[in-house]
């Protein structure tokens, strides 16, 4: 037997992290939390909702125990499947544990937490889906942020001008505005496609160009057209799905929401079906994996990529509409706030599949929602740290997972027809 080069693997790092974290919690919990401290976790809306009175210290000690066990198992690495399962559980437990610790002595609602996470995940999941359409056919698209911003801006401007023309039909105006947002996203993506497919510009450079252009255009447009601030911001209305929304507990959360939120799920299903069950999707994937092979069976690589990128832009435009037309009811400079890039991370996290991207989006949505929840619970953490949470989460997720995530083989390489 000869020595093998010892390599610090991801497993080791995660195990160490949980071991140390578990130790720290176990040592600090008795001091920070009284034995009888309770965190009231409500699961449901209204005062009659089921309430779990969690003994804070006990719960945290259990979590600490699990963390230490998982860490130890991972470091010993004798039973890989078991260690992996425990470590995965530990990861999932992070957010509930933090929430329970933060809610000590107070009451907080886990269901609204879930609802908030889903809601905040919407732009990220939609952005990730847009990314999937583009990247699966081989075009790297880091301009999702710029496309969303453009969609948000021009969608709102459209509404701003349409609304006075359609008194009483505000919802129709909103709908048309969303279509404008989708269209402007498509225009931006057309530019990206033109630069990177026809001119074979480096795709990351071309994406950056779009981002810069979007910032300039939207700031300019806002100054030119949206001079007055509107009092009473109008947003898209909530739509209640009859029947399903009566389901206890989850019904109201999932089925009484705004349109773009629903579109997120529609997009996921449609993308999944198209990618893996239609000939359109097959051709897209082939162009993204091995464009030469696709070319030799007569598929037009350029046309396929153009089409994918434009669809990508349309979806991104819809994601932008979420910001200005569904959430805020107005447009502020740079209102997408880095969500377009988090969407890319979610896409990578999901290994370029729609449902994986949903998982990623939910994770970041969680982190985002946690920040607001902390403020409601008056937890003594400075707001800037809470705002950092989604970004830190992104970095941790990327670092932990990228090695296993393989992009489409021809992603990022311009296609040279011989």
């Amino acid at each position: 037997m000869s020595a093998r080069r010892f390599r610090l693997t991801r497993m080791h790092i995660f195990s160490l992290f949980f071991l140390v974290a578990g130790l720290w919690i176990a040592l600090r919990a008795p001091g920070s939390f009284a034995a009888d401290a309770i965190s009231k976790m409500s699961v449901g809306l209204g005062p009659e909702a089921p309430l779990w009175e969690a003994p804070t210290r006990a719960v945290l000690l259990v979590v600490a125990g699990l963390y230490m066990a998982g860490g130890a198992l991972g470091l010993i690495n004798r039973w890989p499947r078991l260690s992996f399962a425990v470590l995965l559980l530990n990861g999932v437990l992070i957010f509930p544990a933090i929430l329970i610790a933060a809610a000590v002595g107070k009451q907080t609602n886990m269901l609204t937490m879930l609802a908030e996470s889903l809601r905040l995940a919407t732009p990220i999941v939609i952005g990730a889906t847009a990314g999937i359409w583009s990247e699966r056919s081989g075009v790297v698209n880091i301009a999702i942020e710029g496309m969303m911003l453009t969609g948000a801006c021009f969608g709102f401007i459209a509404f701003f001008f349409l609304e006075p023309l359609m008194p009483g039909a505000t919802n129709t105006a909103l709908l048309l505005a969303v279509l404008v947002a989708v269209f402007s996203g498509a225009l931006m993506s057309l530019l990206h496609a033109w630069l990177s497919i026809t001119f074979k510009t480096d795709q990351i450079v071309s994406g950056t160009v779009i981002n810069i252009l979007a910032i300039g255009l939207t700031s300019f447009a806002r100054r030119e057209f949206l001079l007055s601030t509107r009092a009473g911001r109008v947003t898209l209305p909530s739509i209640e799905i009859p029947g399903l929304s009566q389901i206890p507990i989850v019904g109201d959360v999932l089925f009484n929401n705004k349109p773009i939120f629903y579109m997120m799920f529609v997009m996921l299903i449609v993308t999944h079906v198209v990618l893996f069950y239609t000939s359109l999707g097959l051709r897209m994937r082939s162009v993204g994996e091995h464009p030469e092979a696709a070319d030799t069976v007569g598929i037009n690589v350029f046309f396929t990529r153009y089409r994918s990128v434009i669809i990508s832009g349309m979806i991104a435009g819809l994601g932008g509409a979420w910001f200005s037309l569904e959430t805020v009811g107005g447009f502020d400079d740079l209102m997408t706030g880095g969500r377009g890039f988090i969407a890319l991370a979610a896409m990578i996290f999901g290994k370029w599949t729609p449902f994986g991207a949903f998982g990623g989006g939910l994770l970041f949505g969680f982190a985002d929602a946690l920040g607001t929840r902390f403020q409601i619970l008056n937890v003594a953490v400075p707001p800037q740290w809470l705002q950092m949470l989604p970004f830190l989460t992104t970095m941790v997720v990327l670092a932990g997972l990228i090695g296993r995530a393989i992009p489409p083989a021809a992603d990022g390489q311009p296609y040279e027809k011989q």
Partner: protein, 507 residues
């Protein structure tokens, strides 16, 4: 009256910047014929086939199918004419399944949705009819090379090709698998398919051809009947002069052991064991040839020996020192030279000038650098000296390496590796894709470095090269050395069997 050829080209001419790839080529394929197109690397065979298949547009000339002139502007046009092509580098998508690869572009659908079941049934039917066993649900990336080739052939047959172009199909096959391919080809011909078989391997041509067209420098050098041809006559048609098919080599007394490998096990990128307990020894002044078809662990073996890949277990000793865990730099500094099998990817930097490429291994050593600052004059002198010695044809040492021809690129790499004191040379597929002149040059270099006392480990898929250069031959199959034979007494049949995994029976 001669029957109408099923495929004919007249006067096909194709330019590329700086190169006349096809120069007024005439070619006729008769129905039911296996027509071999022979030529060395760069002679224009693949270009001609790409023209026929619609991937290139010719500058002049015409194509006729069944006597009718046709215009082929795309692969789709060619497919519609019944022309199918199996490329040298497979046009298969590893991530997709066999079925998906075959139906791509011609999908079997129910509305917009794929009908995988019906497609799979059609594929099974073709597979049985032509004797090409494949599993429709398998992921192509998991398939071995022989299976992938069958998928490529079925891909063409699925599109109702009756003219099949096979571009260097045996480059990746063992002699046994090549025999199986020939059987399949004869079955196809019985069913009415006509075949153009492109190769540079003389023995195969004589084994299987009904007619032979030899290309040289973009022109037809001759059309020959196999009964009237010999290897030597074909070789000289291919190259235009007398070709010495055997390298001149004097027997040498090998010296001490320079490379010693004991029970080496190495994993590949997909976490499979690629090298499964290999032991070998190379002594100074001898060439050990490792024969075997691509995919049997050669790549991983070479990577492990040069420090580019971690070792699972086992030991490696070079010049008496254990190098099992050594980094590539440590290995190089012990006096090891490495000619990589993929020169474009690993061996050179295309955008760098030649002089910088020549410095890649020694840039940090005296006299080329003093205290981390590079000395341009020393570098330039060394570069000029070395490109002359190794016949690298270039206008200047500052020309970009990417502008060199394949042969000159390889000579540049050889120049770099041979220009420092070395004890061991590891050469992986050193003549792949090169013209005959460069191949001869490199063979001579390998022999002369051996004569200077260097131990040479030659890894090659070209059996002829192994047989003519090696002093001893080891055969690698599925990560194990099946057997090691002295080169003087080894025969092709023996080696072929070993390469296919058949152990020699003890007499």
């Amino acid at each position: 009256m001669e029957p109408t050829p099923v495929l004919e080209v007249r006067g096909i001419t194709k330019h590329f910047p700086g190169v006349l790839a096809n120069d007024h080529i005439d070619f006729k394929l008769t129905k039911g014929q296996i027509h071999c197109m022979l030529g060395e690397n760069g002679a224009g065979k693949t270009t001609l086939m790409n023209v026929i298949y619609g991937l290139y547009q010719p500058d002049a000339g015409e194509i006729l199918v069944n006597g009718q002139p046709v215009s082929i502007h795309s692969a789709n046009d060619a497919i519609r004419m019944g022309i199918g092509m199996v490329h040298q580098h497979f046009m298969l998508i590893p991530e997709l399944t066999v079925t998906e690869n075959i139906i791509l572009g011609n999908e079997v659908t129910v509305g917009p949705f794929l009908n995988r079941r019906r497609a799979a049934a059609q594929i099974r039917e073709l597979s049985e009819r032509f004797g090409l066993p494949v599993d429709p649900a398998a992921r192509v990336g998991d398939l071995p090379v022989g299976s992938r080739q069958r998928v490529e052939i079925i891909k063409a047959l699925y599109r109702k090709a009756d003219i099949l172009i096979l571009d260097e199909p045996t480059a990746v096959l063992t002699p046994q698998e090549a025999e199986d391919l020939f059987k399949v080809m004869r079955t196809l011909v019985e069913q009415g398919v006509s075949i153009v078989f492109i190769t540079h391997k003389l023995k195969e041509v004589l084994a299987v051809a009904d007619e032979i067209t030899v290309l040289r420098d973009g022109r037809v050098a001759g059309v020959v009947q196999p009964e009237q041809a010999t290897e030597a006559s074909l070789a000289s048609l291919m190259v235009g002069r007398e070709v010495i098919l055997q390298v001149e080599k004097e027997p040498r007394e090998p010296g001490e052991s320079i490379l010693s490998v004991r029970d080496l096990r190495v994993i590949d990128d997909r976490e499979h064991v690629a090298v499964d307990g290999v032991s070998l020894e190379v002594r100074s002044g001898e060439i050990l040839g490792v024969a075997g078809v691509q995919g049997n662990g050669q790549t991983e073996l070479v990577q492990a020996l040069t420090g580019l890949r971690a070792v699972l277990s086992g030991q490696v000793f070079i010049a008496g020192q254990e190098t099992t865990l050594a980094t590539p730099r440590q290995v190089t500094e012990l006096g090891v030279a490495h000619i990589p099998e993929d020169r474009e990817k690993d061996g050179l930097v295309k955008s760098y000038p030649i002089v910088d490429n020549l410095l890649l291994n020694v840039y940090y050593q005296l006299p080329y650098a003093r205290r981390m600052v590079i000395d341009d004059t020393q570098a330039a002198d060394y570069a000029r000296d070395v490109i002359q010695k190794f016949d690298v044809r270039t206008p200047s040492i500052y020309a970009q390496a990417g502008t060199l021809s394949g042969g000159n690129k390889q000579k540049m790499i050889v120049a770099r590796e041979f220009s420092r004191p070395i004890k061991l040379l590891i050469a992986a597929q050193p003549t792949r894709g090169l013209d005959v002149g460069s191949i001869e040059f490199i063979h001579r270099q390998l022999v002369s470095i051996r004569d200077l006392g260097v131990a040479v480990l030659l890894v090659s898929a070209e059996l002829d090269e192994i047989m003519s250069l090696s002093d001893r031959i080891a055969v690698l199959f599925r990560g194990r050395i099946i057997d090691t034979l002295p080169a003087a007494t080894a025969t092709r049949e023996q080696l072929g069997l070993l390469m296919a995994g058949v152990h020699a029976q003890a007499a």
